[in-house]
Amino acid sequence: MTDTTRPDRQRQAGRGRGHGGEQLTVPPADFSSYYGRPVLKPPVWKHDIAGYLFTGGLAAGSALIGAGAQLTGRPGLRTVSRWTALGGVAASTYLLVHDLGRPARFHHMLRVAKLTSPMSVGTWILAAFGPMAGVAAVAELAPLLPQHGALGLARRLAPPVGDIAGLAAAATAPALATYTGVLLADTAVPSWHDAYPSLPFVFAGSALAAASGVGLIAAPAAETAPLRRLAVAAATIELVGGRRMERLGVTGEPYAHGRSGRLVRAGRALLAVGTVAALVNRRSRILSAISGAALVASSVATRFGVFEAGRVSARDPKYTVLPQRERLDQHGPTAGR
């Protein structure tokens, strides 16, 4: 292939608007385009999906905590977590169906099971998780039933059934919390795809943080000791797992700059605040609630930030053309590699 027609691309130090912060190794934005139009179609997913990332994670984290509380004899925390898991998964299902172009056809997802489609895998994970989380939560209503008669039998049967369902939900929960990383990464959206090693860890940490947060707010203070440890673990998983996101090169830019970057940074700051507050707090109910709220808010900010970063990267031809052009110039066509 000849070089004679390669456009003399204008040199321009390109990093968009100058934000402070760390210097990134981003190549200058010199590339050709078709009238500056995006090469890709930006995701059509609405904020429903960013919301789903949060509610799905919250449900998964809560199911894990619910099982932990169940196995270590913490009934108050168990009840709170089971209801949160059910609420989270119900909201998730609503958001997912609502986002479809044809909501009435949501059940077409159940025609097939495809490993190559993270959305199909996720549908089946949700289909397994949802009913289990539902049974576990509803079993918490057993004490409201009368002591005798047929309902009395239900009252005695409910707790063991709820325990089995709670453990089953917890068994599928880690998959529910992490498959969403693959859901976003398995696209042509540059910032999502390139972040594929990080996203499942960021989402796993974020899910545990959100669920710990709700527990810290709503569960009896005497039972929340594990949540404080879990908040630290969540922060570690999210921060260590996500440390490479902004350093991806040009496609990491949306995680550090602009509105999406501010959301991601806010998520980290809130995570740090929530974790530290949970650690130092021993007695204060108010401090507990504040740290819980910070953890929940951190998860919301992170999910919306990551979601937004992907949309930004698909909207601007720079993020599509520059990395591919760089790859071509360095290694030649992708052929045979």
Binding site: Q10, K41, T178, L230
Partner: protein
Amino acid sequence: MPHANSLYGPLDPAPDAGYVDAPPRMGFFTDTSVCIGCKACEVACKEWNLVPESGRDLLGMSYDNTGALTANSWRHVAFVEQPRPAGWATPAFLDTPDGPPVSPATAEVAAHTSTDTGTYPGLPSGSPGAAARMSGGSEFLGMPGAHPPGRGSGAEGRTDFRWLMMSDVCKHCTHAACLDVCPTGSLFRTEFGTVVVQEDICNGCGYCISACPYGVIDQRKDDGRAWKCTLCYDRLGVGMTPACAQACPTESIQYGELEELRERAAARVATLHERGVPEARLYGHDPDDGVGGDGAFFLLLDEPEVYGLPPDPVVTTRDLPAMWKRAGLAAMTMAAATAVAFLGRRP
């Protein structure tokens, strides 16, 4: 047992999808060197496939008022006006001002234009900076020119300009990300190796739209479903030529067996090189490329990105096994973290 290359690498897609005795793989070879920009392909496609209207605004993108491939435009003719030196000929516009056809300032304004294509995301506005850079074409050096080129440098430095016209279409990839990520099985591989949406199945989840590395597939606003070129599956079945190729007056769009088209394309490039068009190159023809080769490939006269094509697309599912591994690792970490948090001593 799936083929070792079922996610990446050279592959014959129809047998891989389970067809026994599949007919030869069919495709398009679009030779942009003979495209005259008549848009007969766009019209023929709309007529045959009953594709709805796609907006009637002027976009400020040369003669391109379609803008992009959308759910309501399955062929899209791109127009690029480029000043470039005609090294072997007398400047055609000697004594006339013939600078870049569009000023960077105009291009920046045009980047904001759009039209209601009736689809989503349809035709998103462009990046003004990038539009300004491309406005001057290959000779543009980044300075908004207030006077015609040559005024300062003399007539020798003047440029001629050229038209690039190209009829874009769905690439019908060997490794089609849209098809692989479709959670309903609505997108499927035909016996001809092409990729088609079954509209009675599609529930408008939009995953295919984010997965396509070429930005082809798109969603109709009024019905919520995803639509794209079917390579006239209904016509292929009865041995007919797809509508666009049938309508093309210059045989810029050629339809046929992919193997044969590849040979024809290689010969055409050799001819063009011989005749002094060294910039002619093929795009999407190589079974070893990032998508395993396209069922619809092109002869281009400039870099792919000049036409709005990705220069080196790689199907996202190449990395899918690695992605699932990372997710599995993260899931185990999550479960272990919870276990450790609860196993700790009570305060």
